[in-house]
């Protein structure tokens, strides 16, 4: 792939020679073998090494292109399989029918065209004067590859009359062939016109303009790399011929018209997005994006965009596309004055395009960063680690017991934590956002088992239904639990990343003993996570769901000493766990470093740091060991001082001088 695109760049004259060579090689095979065997190669060459092209692509755009072509190998598998099929299905649309009417000579549905100017080509030394190569070249050039109706052009008959090559083609291909008139083939400018039509001077009629634009797009599209190369449009020979850039009015209208023609070539936006992932607008003397802004509407899902070597001076020059191209992965802005004027611009550009990986060929985000923060945009509330304000492990114990019990024994759980004043209800959010990392088709959600008692107040507005969908008391709650599908939650310890559990002290919780009429302190516990939904046998996983569950717990008189006051569950489509990953990694790591647990990791419950330090000091005094060995010794003895002394006595003989230094 890379070497293929390399060749024409390093040796701009190579394509003609290569084509000629191939023509000789495939000469016996005829049209088919040429199409099947060499199409890819020709397309890869196309546009880049065009002999007639006045300006070679700038270095920056080359880099983008080469990257794209490398990436194209990936996408190429989709396209190369289908490019020759789906994308290359084509019929030259409306412009042809108009020209067809003017076509004078018809032979059984075929139209004759005369081709001149080809004799002086570098292929003239071929046995047939280059005719067979020329025919193949014309078929390729005239074939449409851009659009939903891409199609091969076929030249049915041909004969040489002096300096003229007369070819016969189906009427619908006439327009496509006339359009390539003036192209350079093997060093010679080839002219193609209708027999008897005389020398036609193209004026700017709508149909002609449309045909020209279509030709421009065809010529500048590379199906292999999915690149639409719109660089240096002002130098384009076809467009110059139409005098498009001589008047201000046509200059303004040109690009929107080009985009309209492009859109017209595709049946669906999906086909369009699949066919074009990269656009180069390099070398267009753009001072801002006013003239080209419609690109973002026509190709909103572009991955690669080359704006190099224009006259973009500052960030505001790019403002039109600030909130566009959310899929943009690679942007090239080199060779613009903005580089000197605003050295800080890359930081801003990164904020604009959350999926940007490369800016001017420099990596600005890794693949992982893009995936983990695909949707984050610099908010004043960065995602942090859980805020879990527990006391005496009450909230933690509750969560551990609760979810294990919910999966394994719901009747026991309802007796354990719920009393006649506890209440439970659940709501289904059927429209919730889904896992952003999910690819492919979205699974049906199937809420049947939940919906009949869902208490989503956005959907249920009748008071009796709202009342009956709230379950109060152990029995009602137990029955309601039983009506929900069986579940399997991830393990709290080994799959902690799939959970987000927060808690804080909540005052004003009702006191069942009645001793505190102003209410007592309890906890608000908020749990976000996921579970596997199981079939009735409890073995087969039928669905993966995400949930949010909010508890208010307070002191209770039951066996656990804790009662659930409120239990509210929201069930929603699986939304992944990446939202729980903290953004400010550095900051959180710092917080963990100051935690005392890190300094003295193996202290048993009930032993404070102060007491431990005293024990270490005492052991040092009695044994003469240094701090580290004394600490290690006590750790080994489980912070039992007497055992520590015994340990010391048993290993004393083996200790080297470093233990006492």
């Amino acid at each position: 792939m890379a070497s293929r695109t390399q060749t024409p760049r390093n040796a701009p004259r190579a394509p003609a020679a290569a084509r000629r060579g191939r023509g000789g090689r495939g000469g016996g095979g005829g049209l088919r073998s040429d199409r099947d065997g060499d199409l890819t190669m020709d397309i890869a060459v196309k546009g880049r090494g065009r002999i007639g092209k006045p300006t070679p692509p700038p270095s920056a755009s080359r880099d983008l292109t080469s990257r794209i072509s490398r990436g194209g190998a990936r996408g190429g598998s989709i396209l190369s399989g289908r490019a020759r099929g789906a994308i290359l299905r084509q019929a030259a649309a409306s412009d042809i029918s108009m020209k067809e009417a003017r076509a004078p000579a018809r032979q059984g549905g075929l139209t004759e065209l005369k081709v001149t100017g080809w004799e002086k080509s570098k292929a003239s030394s071929d046995a047939d004067g280059g005719v067979s190569s020329l025919i193949k070249w014309m078929e390729k050039k005239a074939s449409h590859k851009l659009g939903s109706r891409a199609k091969q052009v076929k030249i049915k008959k041909s004969h040489v009359e002096g300096s003229e090559l007369v070819i016969s083609v189906p009427a619908e291909d006439v327009g496509a062939l006339v359009r390539i008139s003036g192209y350079v083939w093997a060093g010679a400018t080839v002219k193609i016109e209708r027999v008897g039509a005389g020398t036609e001077e193209p004026g700017i009629s709508t149909a002609d303009l449309k045909a020209t634009l279509k030709g421009v797009l065809e010529r500048r599209y590379n199906a292999d790399t999915k690149l639409l190369d719109l660089s240096a449009l002002g130098q384009d020979a076809d467009l110059q011929k139409q005098s498009i850039f001589e008047k201000k009015s046509t200059t303004q209208k040109f690009f929107p018209a080009l985009m309209k023609v492009l859109e017209g070539a595709f049946d669906t936006p999906a086909e369009k997005d699949a066919a074009i992932s990269s656009v180069s607008l390099a070398n267009n003397e753009l001072v801002d994006l006013t003239h080209v802004t419609t690109l973002s509407l026509t190709l909103p899902k572009l991955h690669n965009l080359d704006l190099s070597n224009n006259s973009l001076r500052k960030l505001s020059s790019l403002d039109n596309w600030r909130r566009r191209f959310f899929q943009l992965e690679h942007l090239v802005l080199s060779g613009n004055p903005i580089e000197q004027n605003d050295p800080e611009y890359p930081a801003e550009i990164m904020k604009w395009y959350p999926k940007l990986r490369l800016l001017n060929n420099i990596q600005v985000r890794t693949e992982e960063e893009v995936n983990s923060k695909a949707t984050v945009t610099d908010l004043p509330f960065p995602v942090r680690t859980p805020l879990f304000q527990d006391q005496d492990g009450i909230a933690e114990n509750f969560v551990r017991t609760f979810f294990a019990g919910f999966d394994s024994d719901r009747p026991a759980l309802s007796g354990h934590y719920y009393d006649d004043q506890s209440d439970f209800s659940y709501a289904v959010n059927t429209q919730a956002p889904r896992d952003p990392a999910a690819t492919g088709h979205t699974e049906k959600q199937e809420w049947d088992q939940y919906i009949k008692n869902s208490r989503n107040l956005k959907k249920i507005d009748h008071l009796p239904a709202r009342t009956s969908r709230l379950f109060r008391g152990t029995q009602a709650i137990s029955d309601s639990f039983a009506s929900l599908p069986r579940t399997r939650h991830p393990d709290l310890a080994t799959e902690a990343r799939k959970w987000m559990i927060e808690a804080h002290i909540q005052p004003g919780v009702p006191d069942p003993s009645g001793n505190s009429p102003m209410g007592v302190d309890g906890f608000m516990i908020v749990v976000h996570g996921e579970y596997d939904e199981l079939d009735s046998s409890g073995t087969q996983v039928t669905k993966k769901r995400s949930f949010d569950r909010t508890f208010i717990i307070g002191p209770g008189t039951g066996p656990s000493g804790v009662r659930v006051v409120n239990d509210m569950l929201t069930v929603r489509a699986y939304g992944g766990a990446q939202a729980f990953e903290p953004e400010s990694v550095g900051e959180d790591a710092q917080q963990q470093n100051v935690a005392p647990a890190d300094a003295v990791p193996q202290l048993p419950a009930g032993l404070t740091v102060e007491v431990a330090e005293q024990m270490v000091a005492e052991l040092q005094k009695q044994t003469g060991m240094n701090v580290q060995f004394s600490k290690d010794c006590l750790e080994a003895a489980g912070w039992d001082f007497a055992k520590g002394m015994e340990t010391f006595a048993s290993v004393k003989g083996n200790l080297g001088p470093e233990a006492f230094a």
Binding site: R323, P354, A374, V376, T377, D378, L379, P380, F381, P382, V383, R384, P386, L387, D423, S425, Y426, A427, N429, A432, P433, R434, D435, R455, N456, L457, K458, L463, P464, R466, T467, L470, M500, E502, H504, I505, Q506, P507, G508, V509, P510, P517, M518, G519, M524, V526, H528, S546, D548, T550, I552, N566, M568, T570, R572, G575, G576, A579, F580, P582
Partner: protein
């Protein structure tokens, strides 16, 4: 004099939750200067407890003014869309009152609620902006001087319920 049936509780709590949710997210989206007015006034820090408790994505905010300030000065355009709302009565009798001596209306205004919201928030711009799923949880208390509120005023023109606790998280 007055007693509240189960239906009364549901009526009062669901009506309160719906109008609260509607007003609160409207304020986050469009009238950010009002945000602080949804919360109970900050309590005396010497009690060792910070109220209102406001937690956004794991960060506990000092008070409602900090939240409002961040929304006004740093938060881009947002559209919070609550897709699911549910409410329970947390405490049916926040302040000790003799139910035989007060009106039904006073009893109704003496409850606290737990509100659970699930929805999405569109960030930065309409339609094409990035979207996150969120879960938001509140404890609402009556706007009474006894619970730290300023009261609803003589004509009852103020907010009837204020946020004592909030826990918001992006969950998708």
């Amino acid at each position: 004099m007055g007693t509240l049936t189960e239906t009364d509780r549901t009526r009062v709590s669901t009506t309160a939750a719906e109008s609260f949710v509607n007003d609160f997210y409207t304020s986050l989206n469009g009238s950010r200067g009002q945000i602080a007015s949804f919360y109970v006034p900050s309590n005396d820090p010497s009690t060792g407890r910070v109220l209102p408790h406001i937690s956004f994505n794991g960060e506990q905010l000092q008070d409602a003014n900090v939240l409002q300030d961040r929304f006004q000065k740093q938060m881009p355009w947002t559209h919070f869309e609550p897709q699911s709302v549910n409410v329970h009565v947390l405490n049916p009798s926040v302040n000790p009152i003799d139910s035989s001596k007060v009106s039904k209306r006073e009893l109704e205004q003496n409850m606290s609620f737990t509100v659970q919201v699930s929805g999405y928030v569109r960030l930065v711009e309409r339609r094409d902006g990035p979207m996150r799923g969120f879960s938001d949880n509140f404890v609402l208390v009556p706007n009474q001087e006894e619970v730290g509120g300023r009261g609803t005023g003589k004509q009852g023109e103020g907010r009837k319920w204020l946020i004592q606790s909030q826990n918001l998280r992006f969950v998708v």
